[in-house]
Symmetry: C2
Subunit: 147 residues, 2 copies
Amino acid sequence: MPVILRPEELTLKTWVQFARTFTRMARRLDQALETHGLSVPQFDILATLGFQEGITQQELAQRLLVTKGNICGMIDRMEANGWVERRPDPEDRRANRLFLTDEGRKLLGRAMPDQQLLLGRIFDALKEGEKQLLYQFMGRLEDAVEG
Amino acid sequence: MPVILRPEELTLKTWVQFARTFTRMARRLDQALETHGLSVPQFDILATLGFQEGITQQELAQRLLVTKGNICGMIDRMEANGWVERRPDPEDRRANRLFLTDEGRKLLGRAMPDQQLLLGRIFDALKEGEKQLLYQFMGRLEDAVEG
DNA sequence: TATTGTTATACTCTATAACTATA
DNA sequence: TATAGTTATAGAGTATAACAATA
């Protein structure tokens, strides 16, 4: 039975529940990633490169909403682990293009199905149309954030 | 015009958008809290105590989904700032009961309206019924997280 | 024995800012 | 001048685990 909230308290409570749900889901996903020796930000980088290789560090930073200094350190560690590779951009000698190594691709191939399975089980709580709606709501909320 | 996604990609994309929206909103709220010298976790503690004073550190930890060791350090810093107060529980000498100081209450009184204004502006992107729906979805998703 | 809180330790992610090399 | 990346630094929040006091 759905809880109905009064308008005055609805916004705040929705945000609190939003944050709570995000935290719980993120931790569950993090827990699953640990079995692969990955953190969430590292997985995000692997997944982004799996989707589109050859982007620059700057582009990666913008997609993941972090600074380039942050990405630089992340890539240092991930390159040391043999998961990703920096290749000089032949047309702009300031820039690096980022690629997955074979090992990085294999690692992503092991971790991604886990994540999808977990997400699938959780999102089973919503019907197809509800998921579409949620996706929409998220987009509208993101657009409504100023700055 | 709403974007329609194919079922196969919907779950993953919804999660990615979910995480992205949460991050953006949390940073915007954090930015506003900085003007009061507060972090998000600190605000969460003030708000929790503003809602219900006299809880123990353990109870606070459980509500905020963090460990008691974490809370202990947070309260150390916030007590040093003069925002909260530990009072020994007369009935259980192991426990502390937590209270806002006058200054903590004033600080919360300054920071909370900011946060509510910001949230109000962002959540204006959703109609009343949509907010209710989102609140519901979040509760169902949280319940679907195992562990 | 179990629980509350404390302490010590360590780690990850994050940001800022100054620096370099190129554009 | 502006941009891509690097480096150094700092800080917050988080967890784990061992410990003390009390229940």
